[in-house]
Symmetry: C2
Subunit: 499 residues, 2 copies
Amino acid sequence: MAEPSGAGDSTPLECPGLDTAAGEEFLQEVFQILLQEGVRKSTDVTQKVCDWKEPQELRELLDLELRSDGEGQERLLQRCRDVLRFSVRTGHPRFFNQLFSGLDHHALAGRFLTETLNTSPYTYEVAPVLVLMEEQVLAKLRELVGWSSGDGIFAPGGSMSNMLAMNVARFRRFPESRSRGNWDLPRLGLFASQESHYSILKGAALLGIGTDNVHLVRTDQRGKMIPEELEKEIQRVKAEGSEPLFVCATSGTTVLGAFDPLDAIADVCARHGLWLHVDAAWGGSALLSPRLRHLLAGIHRADSVTWNPHKLLMVGLQCSAFLLRDSSGLLQRCHGVGASYLFQRDKFYDVSLDTGDKSPQCGRRADGLKLWILWKAVGTRGLAQRVERAFSATRYLLEQMKRREGFQLVMEPEFINLCFWFIPPSLRGQENSPEFWEKLGKVAPTIKEKMIRRGSMMVGYQPQGSHVNFFRQIITNPAVTRQDLDFFLDEIQELGWDL
Amino acid sequence: MAEPSGAGDSTPLECPGLDTAAGEEFLQEVFQILLQEGVRKSTDVTQKVCDWKEPQELRELLDLELRSDGEGQERLLQRCRDVLRFSVRTGHPRFFNQLFSGLDHHALAGRFLTETLNTSPYTYEVAPVLVLMEEQVLAKLRELVGWSSGDGIFAPGGSMSNMLAMNVARFRRFPESRSRGNWDLPRLGLFASQESHYSILKGAALLGIGTDNVHLVRTDQRGKMIPEELEKEIQRVKAEGSEPLFVCATSGTTVLGAFDPLDAIADVCARHGLWLHVDAAWGGSALLSPRLRHLLAGIHRADSVTWNPHKLLMVGLQCSAFLLRDSSGLLQRCHGVGASYLFQRDKFYDVSLDTGDKSPQCGRRADGLKLWILWKAVGTRGLAQRVERAFSATRYLLEQMKRREGFQLVMEPEFINLCFWFIPPSLRGQENSPEFWEKLGKVAPTIKEKMIRRGSMMVGYQPQGSHVNFFRQIITNPAVTRQDLDFFLDEIQELGWDL
């Protein structure tokens, strides 16, 4: 197994095997490209949002193949330009397609810092600054939830945060499940609204609980969970011999932006001794606004909360906080294994700062720094203004929409999700005809295709329940102006006019 | 619920709510700081590896508190400098503490690009370039495994990749478990070696299988799983009424760097119809070297593979590929839920490119781009040289160690993990005394503390099995020279001399 002596010839150890001077020069060049063609163009409203290419054409343009030999600097710089050119500009003021959008320069600086540091905040030893920042940011988020103590960790996305909640809930009730699995447990029941995020189903499957054991509770016409229906579902599940465990209330549903009534749900949970998790991945940021935090009234009664600052606060993908009210070390007991190569107990510093064992992950990304820098840059007040501006922009768009013909709301928005149909002139007045809805369901996909091919803007659509495809407009980016919103309506009208 | 008219006053929509000119200026400044104080100092051997501060002192130095008001640009730039100054320099040629280290400028450029793009590769629509790159990179990694077809996805770290393997294995055997959970299943048995990564235990707990149902198979004195012992364990578990499901072989164990004999293990799995997963998070990169790939002989017989290019290939945290031999869509069937707001079936392009539903995550980071850029920059050959240089450096250090007094190997290294004790002069010749091992176990932590306080280098230590604390030296960074390796030995001797 010993290395043949020849190995040393091809890789002499006298000199470094990396050319740092050339590397730094390359980084300088790339950074100017990033700034000009990434950051500046990405946020420039006169640019296209995307430059659509069919997959096969794009594969060829990018010359994706990975070969034996490396390439020269000029070629590589061109590749960086190509990546930027053919990517979607999510920082563009007319990108409304996801629950994230916009480009915050401070947060981006934090991300660059994080990438340069390239470490994992599992131990204080290798990430002292990042561990302390994570601690600080999580405490601040908990404070906004209304907790003066507690625990938490950043997870790779809101779905994983929701799954951690389920796992910790199971562990608290049945600590032996960690070692023995689900077999000795009664069949568990999980509850979430019909409008809850699909990660609850994914999590139930992953955790060995099963999607059939997720009971989707009926919502009212605004998409909010009906507490009385939750109560009924719990009773029904109990009567069937299962054991209710966990309720996920949603603060800001993905499509409609609905906020479940937390206080009433907390009452039901208290009555039955159930873990209350609040999936506030989307709506959690409303806690920053004194004007909007009433939407989450009662959230302090939750056992755990998911909150994704990468959405409304523009921190950058990913930044998902899993927050826990418990301060007894539940998270550590649930997930910790105490690997001796990483979490040595005989270190010379306070090993409670080696927080990595609280997570099912080993190496983790340091998602706290970028939020910390952003927070320092704009303050709590600036974050609140961002949320309120998004809310105001939605109200403006709503008013304008009501003044224009052909726009029909799915419902009055409670938050930032503005859901609507555009009814082309050819379909107007035919609302009672049997083919109306079927035809209307084809309008949004066609408009979407046209806008992507044109590159003028991007907005999402979906069917939901009995509703055929409708648009979901989301404005989180503070760079969006009234002009962009007027453009949005004009563009929908223009693209949908002759359908 | 309507917004009071006052909201418009504080957040007028006529102008953008972000100052992009100031933001770009800030980014320019930050980039120069990053380049000088991050990249350059991080890779400069004359700098310290770390500037140790006690947690409370560091909290105060960083002024962590998050306040109502934002701060000016100069203050923020100073904060960026502080973050770099007090962080551990993982790119330093004398940082040997983890299985990742070093700073590759091309990969870092890819990370900056990824952060600037700020999108999730769940749909082609919002990440056309990133989706195609992921497809290409995964295919290339599979090719190195020996598969001409298959599937895969990037996961947030090797632990998650291993958990995906368990979940897919369970789903293939018991598709109904996805909807019904584990209750109707026989008690499952998972198998991994005593030296396997702790994520197998974490995964068993998360998946509702339970850590007791992970059967740790005995290893030989080099840390390799003994196939005959695996056979015996399987028989024993069957006799106890459980159903063996999944075997995780390790290619490159975390501490010892041992490679399990894959062919013999694959024979056992074939005989019993078990899923064979290879955790090659660490050792997978040896597949790039024609000289070293024999260590993984038989890997093409696996059902799935975990491979973390963020370790040996210096791609940057995180880049963990979960690779699957199956090409029937198992991954999609196992994890897919088909959320209609994201994975609309009536899109105008080939929706098989909307790969996000293959993952239990929703939003995911785009971890393929940085590897793609690095690969383009240095070629397959350059990557192979990197692996071989790491191997050669380890061989050099090994030879030097054998020439010096006081260094005692835990075992001859097969790969890049060089595990050893340093025996201070005061303990030499006392190997047979009853207190020898107890005293020796205190040496590594003490030397470690001294090196961190001095900031001269970082290397990990751990106890393992019957072995008291020993150092695990890992050299992955091609910037490491012979001089650094000599320094390493000198420094250990100096710090441990008077213990």
